[in-house]
């Protein structure tokens, strides 16, 4: 178990993600880390407004500063004067998410509650890998799903847990993708693509802990070679994100 590295990511979020899908994955991450494994979360934009609960989990002052810096840099990229950008999608708002803070506070639940060991650097020149020893890592990069998966795979992730509210019809060519939805309606619509139904938490049928254990067991199955539903469907998306060095320079972003 201490060899395992699991990435966590969310996309197509609605409020069920923060209430059920992400916290259930958080329960799983705590179990994984307690068994000696490692987890990576890459959500630079979906941490804006949630710096404090993340920073209080930093193992030391240096990591705490890295957390604030990574999130601060991402906020700069999305707050260019005169260039209003959609950092939340229409579906988020229709689903009931009101502000980036609300989205972020829900999103970070999927990293569980254990200490944050480090922030993995990810620039043109250097991509840090998850070292041995276990624990929770944040990784700098992008919120865009297939690209984030590529980065997490490059950092050593053996698989990725993907939490969705309204669904996400994609997978990844390198890492298996375990899909979790906290929205009972999404599970009803897409049972062939959603590996885990965390919507049972909202309907009151199952506890957060029991869904967390289900995810843990699914992770063991996938680590043992069993295909995920997305793999069986043949999803093999792949793309790589590269920050624009000119924009980084213009925004005075130092790493």
């Amino acid at each position: 178990m201490s060899e395992l590295i699991v990435g966590v990511k969310c996309g197509g979020s609605d409020t069920s993600s923060g209430l059920a899908g992400n916290p259930a994955v958080g329960v799983f991450v705590d179990m994984l880390v307690d068994e000696g494994g490692s987890a990576i979360m890459m959500e630079p934009i979906e941490a804006v407004g949630a710096e404090e609960p993340l920073a209080t989990r930093a193992v030391n002052e240096a990591v705490r500063e890295k957390i604030y810096k990574m999130i601060g840099n991402e906020e700069k990229r999305w707050s260019v004067p005169g260039a209003q950008m959609e950092f939340m999608c229409r579906g988020n708002v229709e689903g009931g998410l009101t502000t980036i803070e609300e989205k972020s506070l829900g999103a970070i639940h999927k990293s569980g509650s254990r200490p944050i060991v480090d922030v993995l650097e990810n620039t043109d020149h250097r991509l840090e890998k998850v070292p041995k020893g276990g624990g929770v890592y944040l990784q700098d990069g992008t919120h865009m799903e297939p690209m984030a998966m590529s980065f997490m795979a490059a950092a050593g992730a053996h698989m990725v847990l993907f939490v969705t509210g309204c669904g996400g019809t994609f997978g990844h060519a390198i890492v298996p993708f375990i899909k979790v939805t906290g929205n009972p309606e999404t599970y009803r619509r897409m049972p062939y693509d959603m590996d885990i139904n965390a919507g049972t938490i909202l309907t009151g049928e199952e506890s957060m802990e029991s869904v967390g254990k289900k995810i843990f067991n699914k992770m063991i199955d996938v680590a043992s070679g069993k295909p995920t539903l997305g793999e069986a469907l043949g999803y093999d998306n792949f793309s790589v994100f590269r920050a624009d060095p000119r924009l980084e320079a213009l925004l005075n972003i130092s790493k």
Binding site: D14, T15, S16, G18, L19, V48, G49, A50, E52, P53, E75, W78, S79, Q84, E86, F87, M88, R90, V93, G95, G96, T98, T99, I100, E101, E102, L105, G106, H109, G165, N183, E185, L202, T203, G204, M208
Partner: protein, 103 residues
């Protein structure tokens, strides 16, 4: 009775776990399933949308998960819909056109 979920005792909003009807009492529960109180929504609240569980004054912090998700741009009564029409982020603002379309 239909339910809304309040994530933290400090919160002043709860999230509808199913579509709530205006004028029909709903139960506000915690993640432990324990009941906080019964509350009558002032209008229909869609699944996943929030309603105020306490009086919120203009300028007050809106709290969910025990943390600030924004500030109220107007007074919000218990049972009222809480969304982009009456809450503003302290960090990043959404495209203005979205606000006009809401409520």
């Amino acid at each position: 009775m239909k339910r809304a979920l309040m994530m933290n005792i400090e919160d002043n909003v709860a999230t509808a776990l199913e579509k709530l009807e205006g004028g029909v009492p709903a139960r506000v529960i915690f993640p432990s399933q324990e009941v906080f109180k019964e509350l009558t929504p002032l209008k229909a609240i869609s699944f996943g949308h929030k309603l105020a569980v306490k009086q919120i004054r203009k300028g007050d912090q809106v709290l969910k998960y025990g943390h600030v998700i924004g500030n109220a741009t107007q007074d919000i009564r218990p049972g009222d819909h809480v969304h982009i029409h009456n809450v503003m982020s302290n960090r990043m603002q959404m495209p203005e056109v979205w606000y006009r379309e809401e409520d």
